[in-house]
Symmetry: C2
C-alpha cells in the first residue's frame, strides 16, 4: 500500500524559517536565529582558489564523479576505519540528493529516529514510502534503542508496512549527541538479523567537539556489507552554499547494487556534481593541513557555543542532553510544563511561537522533526551566533569564543528569552 503523495508539498521547515528570518530582519526586527543548521564561517582562501582553478571542468563527466575526486573521498573514509576504493564513492550536489536517490533505490518503507532531521520523512513520502518513527531516548545519542526498534519493526509489519531502510544520524541532528559504540554494535547486529539497509548520515562526524573523549563507531564498521554512509562539506567547512555531498557504498554485491541504483537515479535527477565543485572536493577530501586545522578550529568553536546554550537551557529549568558534536542542542521544557501552561504554552508549536513572538528567538519546534507534538522540545542551532565574517574569524581563533562581545550578547539574549517564557 503506497500512501498518497501530498498534493501540495510544504517547504522544508528549516529553510522556510530561514526565509522568514530574512524577511523579518529586512523589516528591521532583531532576531536570534537558532533554526538553521548552517555553519556560517569564512571561506578558506585555498578553497576559493581551488574553485577558480576548477572552471575548466565544464564537461558533464561521469555521473558518480571523476576518478580523482572519488579517489580522495575514498582516502578520507579509509583514514576513518572504513577502507574504501574510488569505485565505492558517488559525489553529488549535496547529500540531500544522495539521500533521496537511496530512498528511490532501496525498496520498501523506512525507519526513522524520532526526532530526526526534517528532510528524511518528506523524501520518503516523495519516494512513495511509509515512515515509521522510533523514539530516541536521551541516553542513546540520537539513535533508537534496539528493543524499541524491534517493537517498531513488528508494529510496522503488522500495519502492512515493509521497513527495509533504517536511517541513523551520527552524530545526531537535532540532538547534538552521538550514539555510543556499544549501541551502534547492537543496531548493526539487528540490521543484519532483519535484513535492513542502513543509511548512516555522518555529515557531522568531523564536528565531534572533543574527539579524544568521544569514541566514534560507524555502522559501516559493524555492518559493512549493508551500510551506506553519506557526508559532505557543508557542515565541516561552512560550505552549505557550495552543495558538495558524498556517499560511500559497501564493498560487495549489495553495495554494488545500491551504488548502481543511486547512479541510475542520479543520471536522471541531477547528472553529476558540478565540475568545479568536484575540483574543490578532490582538494578538501585529501585533507591537507590547512583543511584539518580549520575543521579542528571549527569543531572547537561549535562545541564551546553549543555547550554555552546547553548551560543556559539547563539554568532556565529545562532538561537538555549535553551536546558532544555538531552545533545543536535539544532542550526539553517538560519540568516547567505547569508554569508554561499558565502562559498558554502547551506544546512544541506554542513553545516555539512564544520564543519567537516574546523574544525574537527562532527555534525549530520538535513537531517539525517528527517528535511528539505535545512535548515541549525544540532544536536550537547555535552556529549562526558567530556574527559577521570578521567576527566569525575572531570566534574561530578565540580561546573562549563565548566571551567575545558579539557571541556573549547573543547568548544573553537567549538566556533572557528563556527567562521571559516564565515571567
Amino acid at each position: 500500500m503506497t500512501p498518497a503523495r501530498p498534493s501540495a508539498p510544504a517547504p522544508s521547515p528549516n529553510l522556510a524559517l530561514n526565509q522568514l528570518v530574512d524577511r523579518r530582519r529586512a523589516r528591521g526586527e532583531s532576531l536570534v536565529h537558532l533554526a538553521f543548521g548552517e555553519a556560517r564561517l569564512p571561506v578558506l582562501p585555498q578553497l576559493a582558489a581551488r574553485l577558480a582553478a576548477g572552471a575548466s571542468r565544464a564537461a558533464y563527466g561521469p555521473v558518480a564523479g571523476a576518478e580523482d575526486v572519488r579517489t580522495e573521498v575514498a582516502g578520507y573514509f579509509t583514514r576513518r576505519r572504513q577502507p574504501t576504493t574510488a569505485d565505492q564513492v558517488v559525489v553529488a550536489p549535496g547529500s540531500k540528493p544522495l539521500l533521496m536517490a537511496l530512498q528511490l533505490t532501496v525498496p520498501g518503507d523506512v525507519l526513522l529516529p524520532s526526532p530526526a532531521w526534517n528532510t528524511y520523512a518528506p523524501q520518503a513520502r516523495y519516494a512513495g514510502k511509509r515512515v515509521f518513527g522510533v523514539p530516541v531516548p536521551a541516553q542513546c545519542g540520537g539513535v533508537p534503542a534496539p528493543d524499541a526498534l524491534r517493537t517498531a519493526l513488528r508494529e510496522a509489519r503488522a500495519a502492512g508496512g515493509d521497513p527495509r531502510l533504517l536511517i541513523l544520524t551520527l552524530p545526531d541532528n537535532p540532538t547534538g549527541t552521538l550514539a555510543p559504540p556499544a549501541l551502534v554494535r547492537e543496531l548493526g547486529a539487528l540490521a543484519r538479523e532483519e535484513d535492513l539497509v542502513v543509511v548512516a548520515d555522518e555529515i557531522y562526524r568531523d564536528i565531534v567537539h572533543d574527539p579524544d573523549r568521544t569514541p566514534f563507531l560507524s555502522p559501516a564498521e559493524v555492518a559493512p556489507e549493508r551500510t551506506v554512509v553519506t557526508s559532505g562539506l557543508s557542515k565541516t567547512l561552512g560550505l552549505g552554499g557550495w552543495r558538495i555531498g558524498v556517499a560511500r557504498f559497501p564493498a560487495g554485491d549489495t553495495g554494488e547494487r545500491l551504488r548502481a541504483g543511486v547512479i541510475a537515479v542520479a543520471s536522471e535527477l541531477w547528472s553529476t556534481l558540478a565540475g568545479p565543485m568536484q575540483h574543490v572536493a578532490a582538494y578538501a577530501y585529501a585533507e591537507p593541513p590547512e583543511i584539518t586545522e580549520r575543521v579542528r578550529a571549527a569543531a572547537r568553536l561549535h562545541g564551546a557555543v553549543a555547550r554555552a546554550v546547553h548551560r543556559i537551557a539547563v539554568d532556565a529549568g529545562a532538561t537538555c542532553r549535553p551536546p558532544t558534536a555538531g552545533f545543536y542542542v535539544y532542550p526539553d521544557f517538560e519540568p516547567l510544563r505547569e508554569r508554561l501552561a499558565a502562559r498558554g504554552v502547551t506544546d512544541s508549536a506554542s513553545l516555539a511561537g512564544a520564543l519567537l513572538d516574546g523574544s525574537g528567538l527562532v527555534v525549530l519546534g520538535g513537531h517539525l522533526l517528527g517528535d511528539d507534538p505535545h512535548a515541549l522540545r525544540f532544536k536550537a542551532a547555535t552556529s549562526l551566533l558567530y556574527g559577521d565574517e570578521e567576527q566569525q574569524a575572531a570566534a574561530l581563533a578565540a580561546d573562549d569564543p563565548t566571551r567575545l562581545p558579539h557571541v556573549a550578547g547573543e547568548l544573553a539574549r537567549i538566556a533572557e528569552g528563556f527567562a521571559r517564557l516564565l515571567d
Copy 2:
C-alpha cells in the same frame, strides 16, 4: 493506480553510453561519439572569472535562488516575449532536478512526445506516474499533432490513467526540429480545454540555427497561465558540467501554486543552486554582448555540422527531418529496411549495434527514447565532432566549420559508417 517503481533503476542511456565510450577509448578504440548531447565548447574566460568571483557565496541562501540571479533570469525571459518578474523564477543545479520537482508537484500522469528526451519517462516513474506516449509526425517539429494528443488522452483515461502534465520540447530533442507556431497555438488551446499543465523544455531555444527564418512561439505565450518553461546554460554556453538550470513559472494562482510546490521539493531534494553558480547565472542571463556573440557563434556552428550530418544520412538513403535547431539529427533508415534486414539489422537496437560494432559510430537507438523499437531510427548528436579545445575555438570562428580537417574527418567516418551498413 500507481505503477510499481522499477526495482533496479537503470542509468540514463545517454550517460551510460558516454561512460562506455570513455572506457572503450581508454582501451584504444577509435569511436565517433554521436550519443551524447553535450555542447563541448571552450569556457568563456568571463564565465570563469565570474565563477571565481562567486566563491564568497557559500551560505545556503533562498531555495529558489538569490534575488539578483532571479531578476536577471526574469529579464532573459522578458526579452523573449515572456514577461517575467523575479518571483516567477527558480534556479537549480541543472534543469533535470526542476523537471523532477515538477513531476512530483503536478498530480496525475504524464503525456510525452514519442520519441522524447530519455529523462522525462524515468523521472515520471520515480514520481509514481504513468507515461502515455504520443507519436510525433515529421512535420510537427517534435510535438504531437493535436488530434493524436486528443486520442491519446481519451485512451489514457479509458485505461484508468489521469494525464495532467504535457511535456513539450521546443526546439526538440531528439529530432533537432522546432514546432511551427500554428501547431503550438493549437496545443495551447487543447491544454486549456483539457486542463493540462504544460512543461515547455526550452533549453535549446537559443540554438535555433537561423532565427530569422525560424519563428519561435512558446507555449508560455499561448497558454501563459498553465505553462512552466525550463531552460539552462548547459547547451547554449557549453556548461553542462556546471549544472545551471532555471524554471519560469506562470504569473497567477496556478503558477504560484506550482512554484511553491517546486520550491518545497527543492528544499528537500537539493536545497538550492550552488552560490558561485548563481553568480555565474546572474551574469550570463543578463546577456552582455560577449555572451550573445558566443551563443550566436555556437548556434551557427551547431547548425552547420548538424546539417552536414543530415545530408550524409539522406545521401545514404535514410529519410531525415532537416534540423533547424540544437545539435541533433534523427535519421530513419526505413527506406533501406530490406537491405538492412539481409544483414541482421531489423530494429533500432540492432541498427545502433551495427553502427557501433561495424564502424565505431555511437548513436542512441530510438527505442531508448520511447520511439517504436521496430523502427530503424536513432538520434545522432553532432556536438562532439568539434575536436579538442583548440579545434573547438577554430570551429566557432570558421566560416564553414565542416571543411576544417578534424570536422571533415569525423563527417567522412560517419558517411563511411552509414555506407558500411549496406555493404
